[in-house]
């Protein structure tokens, strides 16, 4: 009885104390660090009079899991901090890799309520949603044109500049880094990479007959943006369009429908013929994909250029050196291959002009100018022309050089608010086709009606 009472009393007191504490908004835990200028929660002079707020994608920040990126970005931030002792950057939110959907909901709600940060990382996949007119945003992405010279604006690759420009011709986001989607193939098993999917099937069948391999191709087929984005490349190469000039969905009409059906039928064919295992429908991330590659070392992997950052750790450098990059094959001969490009942008929401200028100076110094681009682009690709010119192959980054070449055939996703809805509906469609639950026609029609039901 004694023990019970004492325990109960202690717990009660502790809980009361904590709730009193909880009511005090300034009682937050601060993170212990050294007295450097780049702490996880504050960049710059901690006593500065100006504060700008930042929502940072962890991979693209000084706490990144890529050591080189973390190192270089820390340097850039320090250099900015020294030049701007009157401003500090408060890092409010760090975005975890797996939860970008929830993060976007949070950012939208914040922008609608007028609580968005001064600047934030926004996945290019979602950026167009901020252009939605009926959303009632209290804060919108601010134009960067006043702060950039013509030369700097021209330095962006056209596709990226166009993507980030709104209907008034203003650039509303800094498209800071990009990645491309490619076909990795085992050069020890074939003399040249295939150009069409029929060639892929032929090569796989031959290798399977020779008992050199079991699975032919691995890719992401689960609920993830990449699942759809990988298929888009063949769709685009076949001449399909997702949306019209006004941003309305047209992917199930006319020529586009044919191209989409052809792509879905391709996946079905790959599964039916034993080239692609149905289990790809549960691969929704790079981790799963890497582990799958380790098990069977397939001759083909349909993924992004970025796996050179993690796959060697899983299968070993020697095994990884068997793979090389090639453009994604097309559905038919004569079509030009396309490499889908994505990436993250940095957006400024700040309304106060003075603070906005400061936010821009931070953005540009850390993520913008040539040196900054090189920093982020350690494990990604630059969107600037003059940086990539300098992008010579070195021992440290032979893959980045190959990937940069892909930028010539790169294509971005349409900058229309409906894109993310199309992708989500199609991710489910692709999964259903891979698993044989729906015919390509039914899967596509269901996805179409889902998108249309949203009011487009």
């Amino acid at each position: 009885m004694r023990v019970k009472r004492t325990f109960f009393a202690i717990v009660l007191i502790a809980a009361v104390a904590m709730s009193v504490w909880a009511a005090d908004p300034s009682a937050v835990w601060s993170i212990k660090e050294g007295t450097n200028l780049v702490k996880p929660e504050v960049y710059g002079n901690p006593n500065a009079k100006n504060t700008i707020t930042f929502w940072v994608y962890r991979t693209l920040g000084p706490s990144s899991n890529y050591p080189r990126t973390a190192e270089l970005l820390t340097e850039r931030i320090e250099s900015w901090a020294k030049k701007n002792p009157d401003t500090k950057v408060e890092v409010q939110i760090e975005i975890p890799q797996e939860k970008t959907n929830e993060y976007m909901v949070k950012l939208y709600e914040a922008a609608k309520a007028g609580r968005a940060p001064s600047l934030a990382h926004v996945d290019s996949f979602f950026l167009p949603k901020f252009l939605e007119k009926d959303a009632g945003f209290k804060q919108v992405p601010q134009p960067l044109d006043p702060y950039l010279t013509k030369a700097e604006l021209d330095n962006y690759f056209d596709a990226y500049r166009q993507f980030a420009t709104d209907e008034n011709g203003k650039m509303i986001a800094h498209f800071g880094y990009t990645d491309v989607r490619v076909l990795w193939y085992r050069k020890d098993l074939m003399s040249a990479p295939p150009k069409t999917w029929d060639e892929v099937i032929a090569i796989v069948k031959k290798l399977q007959a020779e008992k050199k391999i079991t699975e032919g191709i691995l890719t992401q087929g689960g609920r993830h943006e990449n699942t759809f984005f990988f298929m888009l490349n063949m769709f685009w190469a076949a001449g399909g369009e997702l949306v019209d000039a006004k941003g309305n969905p047209v992917f199930n009409q006319g020529k586009n429908r044919e191209a989409m059906l052809a792509s879905l039928r391709l996946y079905k064919k790959l599964v039916d013929q034993g080239v692609m295992p149905a289990k790809v429908a549960s691969i929704s991330g790079t981790g799963d994909l890497n582990a799958g590659v380790k098990m069977t070392m397939p001759p083909f992997i349909l993924t992004g250029h970025w796996i050179h950052g993690s796959l060697p750790q899983v299968i070993g450098e020697e095994n990884f050196s068997k793979y090389a990059m090639a453009p994604i094959p097309t559905l038919e001969k004569g079509q030009n291959p396309v490499s889908g490009a994505g990436g993250w942008t940095t957006v400024i929401f700040e309304k106060d002009p003075e603070l906005r200028a400061k936010a821009f100076s931070f953005l540009w110094e850390v993520y913008g100018d040539v040196k900054g681009m090189a920093a982020v682009a350690v494990d990604a690709l630059p969107t600037f022309k003059d940086v990539s010119v300098d992008w010579r192959p070195t021992e440290a980054n032979p893959y980045l050089y190959q990937a940069t070449k892909m930028l010539n055939i790169a294509r971005l996703r349409p900058a229309a608010p409906v894109y993310s809805d199309i992708s989500l509906a199609m991710q489910v469609a692709i999964g259903d086709v891979i698993l044989g639950k729906k015919t390509p026609e039914k899967a596509l029609d269901d996805a179409w009606s889902e998108v249309k039901a949203l009011g487009y």
């Binding site: 959907n101 939208y108 149905a278 289990k279 929704s284 799958g292 489910v428 269901d446």
Partner: protein, 296 residues
């Protein structure tokens, strides 16, 4: 004798007030909002512009909805049946073991109960690792050494629902065991002794004495577990995320995905209304049958 007149302390409403006020202020208003949104075409971004039954009609006429209901029913029925069964078995084992002073009874009880304490997302992660097809997937390793086979627990759509049910049984058994064990503790030992005097076997004791006396506990267990299983998806989220395809997407998870992935507020609200109705039906069914049984 002091006359006790109604002091402030006797006002029942004052006691209830904080509870009711809290719910009204912080729950009722958003809930009404959700109900309103379910009759609109609102998305996360766009304010509603049309009102009507469109969300419900499109929901009930889509083939995916039917499939999702089937998946939900399979999940709930499969989990409940086995978790109550195993919970009962383990509760009886621990109870009997304690009576006979078998070593390890308390340890067994504690270990099983610990599984209930593990947060649902963590359970999903634990089972994802165990059922994984990769090298660290213990389940496949064991199966491989006995049967030389390899089961795609998480990527084969027929197996995935089975995997999800197994993981839920694992943690649900702990919960059922907890309730049924408390029930067993309540049965006076004297009743058993009397039965032994009358020549009852173990099995007869169980069937005619234990089970009937456990009835209220079984009902509590079933009703609480049913409501909990219908409403939770944390385990499924970290285990399969609803996949492959949509083969493990239950109703509660669909609500979440519709709002956060599809950003379709109207449809998500409609789905959550459906979930609410399901919950209501269950509560009524259990209440009615419970009262009937106790009156019998």
């Amino acid at each position: 004798m002091a006359k006790r007149h109604k002091s402030l302390q006797e006002q029942p409403l004052l006691w209830i007030a904080p509870l009711v006020l809290l719910l009204l202020a912080f729950y009722l208003y958003p809930m009404i909002d959700v109900a309103r949104l379910s009759f609109s075409n609102a998305t996360l971004l766009r304010n509603p512009s049309k009102y009507g039954l469109m969300q419900y009609t499109s929901l009930f006429s889509s083939s995916d909805f039917g499939q999702m209901i089937v998946v939900t029913l399979k999940y709930v029925a499969g989990s409940l049946f086995f978790q109550v069964l195993f919970g009962l078995l383990i509760a009886v084992l621990v109870h009997e073991g304690k009576k006979r002073k078998v070593p390890g009874a308390v340890l067994t009880r504690s270990v099983v109960l610990s599984c209930w304490i593990i947060p649902a997302p963590a359970i999903g992660i634990i089972w994802k690792i165990i059922l994984s097809e990769f090298d660290y997937g213990i389940a496949n390793h064991l199966i491989g050494s006995f049967f030389d086979q390899h089961l795609a627990f998480l990527s084969n759509e027929r197996l995935a629902i089975f995997s999800v049910i197994v993981a839920n049984i694992w943690c649900g058994t702990a919960f059922s065991m907890l309730i049924l064990y408390s029930g067993l503790q309540q049965i006076p030992e004297s009743l058993y002794e009397a039965a032994v005097v009358d020549g009852a076997t173990e099995f007869q004791k169980f069937r005619y004495l234990t089970l009937p006396l456990l009835r209220p506990f079984l009902f509590t267990d079933l009703s609480l577990a049913t409501i909990y299983t219908f409403n939770s998806f944390g385990l499924i989220m970290s285990l399969t995320a609803g996949g492959p395809g949509r083969s493990t997407e239950v109703l509660a998870m669909s609500v979440y995905r519709t709002i956060f992935d599809r950003m379709n507020l109207g449809r998500g609200a409609a789905l959550s209304m459906v979930l609410l109705v399901v919950n209501l039906v269950i509560a009524i069914v259990y209440n009615k049958s419970f009262f009937k049984k106790t009156q019998a």
